[in-house]
């Protein structure tokens, strides 16, 4: 029977000391969840290995849905991966629960410059004053639009001057019920919908201290209302039922909707569809009514398991993952924007058919993604409740208040 190399390594580390010797051969495991990024990760690992021949790195790919079950099981049992991807959504949970290690001592002794990364990402992984992750990537957003449909309706292409009212006006002109074409698509997907508009009017999802909900603020309601109005007031977007049945991105790349708010990870998929490659382009995300461009951005970090047997080697690897070179490798794939600032050009040039620069230009407005220790407890509930507003059964105001009160209950239970 085959014995996996990293099982052997785990057995070694259990019996001998934690391996400080530089010449000792060590195998690290590195857990990630996105199949699309495996190639870039493997290239990073091979370059790292050529610089550190004594450290082997094994990639473990587990799909998103199972990644967290597996990680929690393995970390609890003390056999988890040494280094793994972390998202802002779970960072506090793992940091306060002792699953990931604070890295301040290593950062200080290696003189790593945390200022090199997009501040929103660094901030999100700095928990109770300690750094729990080396920023990996950051999300930008833009307005994807169908040039063919714009031309047919004789509407000017969107540009950086656009605000909400321009989107609404254009969507009304582009909507063509006879042809089954909608001007806009308003999915009920926090990250891709109201997390982009709430900050533009000064609203918030969670207070900066993470202790109370922002859903009951009038500005937050206004940011959410933008989306429901598209369906229930202006009738320029498919309904919630339709966007649940059919992926809104597929609607865009099939010419069924003329505009959609897009994430920086999506151009790759748009380009994979011939129609999308030919007719879609990307404009800057429209600003709020007063020109505010702030938005909530998730971004990943590489974290070190608190229980790793190979702290030194894991730190060497983390440093490389946070390096300019690793940023460059990731950027070239066009899949993600590296969190390392000033290295987004390679991303912007990865797909010349689209204006990817708009995602990069937007990064300066990024705010840390709303999160608390148990983010899922209130985030999932919000998504569940807002369906009522999306279908027009209840007003955004009513639902928001109900979401806020449940969220405040959940947050008050989090006290350590």
């Amino acid at each position: 029977m085959l014995v996996a190399p990293f099982l052997a390594a785990a057995a070694c580390s259990g019996s001998s000391d934690s391996g400080g010797g530089d010449d000792k051969q060590v195998t690290l495991t590195y857990a990630i969840w996105d199949q699309a990024q495996v190639a870039a990760m493997k290239q990073i690992i091979s370059e790292f290995h050529s610089q550190h021949p004594n450290i082997d790195v094994q990639v473990q790919v587990t799909p998103w849905e199972s990644y967290w079950t597996k990680l929690q099981t393995a970390v609890t049992a003390g056999t988890g991966p040494d280094v793994f991807w972390m998202t802002m959504v779970y960072a506090k949970y793992y940091a306060t629960g002792g699953g990931i290690a604070p890295l301040d001592d290593q950062i200080k002794s290696s003189k790593m410059d945390m200022g090199a990364y997009v501040p929103a990402v660094t901030k999100a992984y700095t928990i109770d004053g300690k750094v729990f992750g080396v920023p990996k990537d950051v999300n930008g957003f833009g307005l994807c639009y169908n040039k063919q449909l714009f031309d047919a309706a004789k509407v000017k292409y969107p540009d950086e001057s656009w605000t909400w009212s321009d989107v609404i006006a254009a969507a009304q002109k582009l909507t063509n019920p006879q042809k089954g074409v909608y001007g806009f698509v308003a999915p009920e997907a926090d990250e891709l919908s109201w997390y982009l508009t709430v900050p533009q009017v000064g609203g918030q999802i969670i207070s900066p201290d993470g202790k109370s909900s922002g859903y009951d603020q009038p500005a937050t309601v206004k940011g959410i209302q933008f989306w429901t109005d598209m369906i229930t007031k202006y009738h320029v977007s498919p309904t919630l039922q339709q966007t649940t049945d059919t992926d809104p991105l597929a609607m865009l790349t099939s010419g069924k909707v003329a505009m959609r708010y897009c994430g920086s990870w999506e151009p790759e998929e748009i380009a994979a569809v011939p129609y999308g490659k030919a007719h879609i382009d990307i404009a800057p995300l429209p600003a709020g009514p007063d020109g505010n461009r702030n938005y909530y951005s998730n971004g990943l970090a590489n974290s070190m398991s608190a229980k790793t047997q190979h702290r030194e080697q894991a730190w060497e690897f983390l440093q490389f993952l946070g390096s300019e070179r690793a940023a460059e490798i990731q950027a070239k794939t066009g899949t993600v924007i590296p969190a390392y600032e000033g290295h987004a050009e390679a991303y912007a040039k990865a797909m010349p058919e689209f204006d990817l620069q708009v995602f990069v230009d937007q990064l300066k407005y990024a705010q840390p993604f709303p999160a608390s220790t148990d983010t899922a407890a209130w985030r999932d509930d919000a998504t569940k409740q807002f369906a009522e507003a999306w279908t027009g059964k209840a007003s955004v105001d009513e639902v928001s208040r109900s979401v806020a009160s449940k969220m405040n209950d959940a947050l008050s239970k989090e006290k350590k």
Binding site: Q35, P63, W64, T73, A250
Partner: protein
């Protein structure tokens, strides 16, 4: 009574219609899967959906083999399923026999404790079972895939119910002829409970072939994973290459379909046999 032939004629079209509608619902998803597996990515995500690929993309099938150690994973799935099925049928029938046919103190209480296991959701066992595998040094091995699945409280319950139905007289006759308890189990009871074992076996095979969470958690090396876990890792966080995923799923379900076609007659006769006997 008066005109049985006519009655048949009236009844059959309705029955056929119902069966045809049922067949469409059953076969539809398979055909859809087959069609998707031969489409380009663009076709697979188009709205309205593409029913037939413009030109069949056979390369999707080869992509499955290059993206995954697919043959190896298929062997893992097969080995895992055989070990679990043999284990469950053997151990559950032994335990079920004891609960049904043997008198011992605390039998009722013990059986109650047993049954309580079936009332706990599987996820609760995940961590303890993982830790047992870890202590045994079996993480990331083929053995870890099937070891905890070789026994089940449900199987024990099923087999116990089956043994309870068998007539007491046969057991007594065997005892008079000088058979000991193991001989009664092995020579008398087991052959008579073939339909029960087949039913349990089929359930275990289906469950094991599709089992995802446990293999995904306990093993990390793709070469030590079954097909279910391998296919799951083809899903990206945002983008999934649906045609390749469907091609892989089709290949993964092919062996089960072949097994069913080959053994269909045996499965049916087993069920029919039990009906007549009972």
């Amino acid at each position: 009574m008066a005109d049985p032939i006519r009655r048949r004629r009236v009844r059959h079209p309705v029955a056929h219609l119902v069966l045809c509608i049922g067949a469409v619902f059953m076969v539809g998803p398979f055909l859809w899967q087959l069609s998707t597996s031969l489409q380009t990515f663009g076709e697979s995500v188009s709205v309205p959906p593409t029913f037939l690929p413009h030109s069949p993309q056979w390369s999707n099938v080869t992509t499955v083999f290059s993206a995954l150690p697919f043959g190896h994973q298929l062997l893992n799935t097969t080995a895992m399923t055989i070990a679990r099925t043999v284990g469950q049928v053997l151990f559950s029938s032994l335990a079920g026999f004891a609960f049904a046919r043997m008198q011992f103190r605390g039998r009722g209480v013990l059986f109650g404790v047993f049954l309580s296991v079936t009332m706990v959701p599987y996820q609760v066992f995940l961590l303890p079972q993982y830790q047992i595998m870890q202590k045994l040094g079996l993480l990331n091995t083929l053995v870890a895939l099937f070891l905890p699945g070789m026994f089940s409280a449900f199987g024990t319950f099923l087999m116990r119910q089956f043994f309870l139905q068998l007539p007491q007289e046969i057991e007594e006759a065997a005892r008079i002829d000088g058979a000991n308890i193991l001989q009664i189990y092995w020579r008398i009871m087991l052959p008579m409970s073939a339909p029960g074992m087949i039913a349990l076996g089929v359930l275990v095979i289906i469950w094991s072939w599709n089992d995802l969470l446990w293999p995904l958690v306990v093993n990390s090396d793709p070469r030590q994973m079954p097909v279910s876990a391998g296919l799951a890792s083809l899903q990206g966080q945002y983008t999934t290459n649906f045609p390749v995923l469907m091609a892989g799923s089709l290949l993964a379900s092919l062996p089960v379909i072949i097994v069913f076609i080959v053994f269909q007659r045996h499965l049916m006769s087993g069920i029919a046999f039990s009906g007549v006997k009972g």
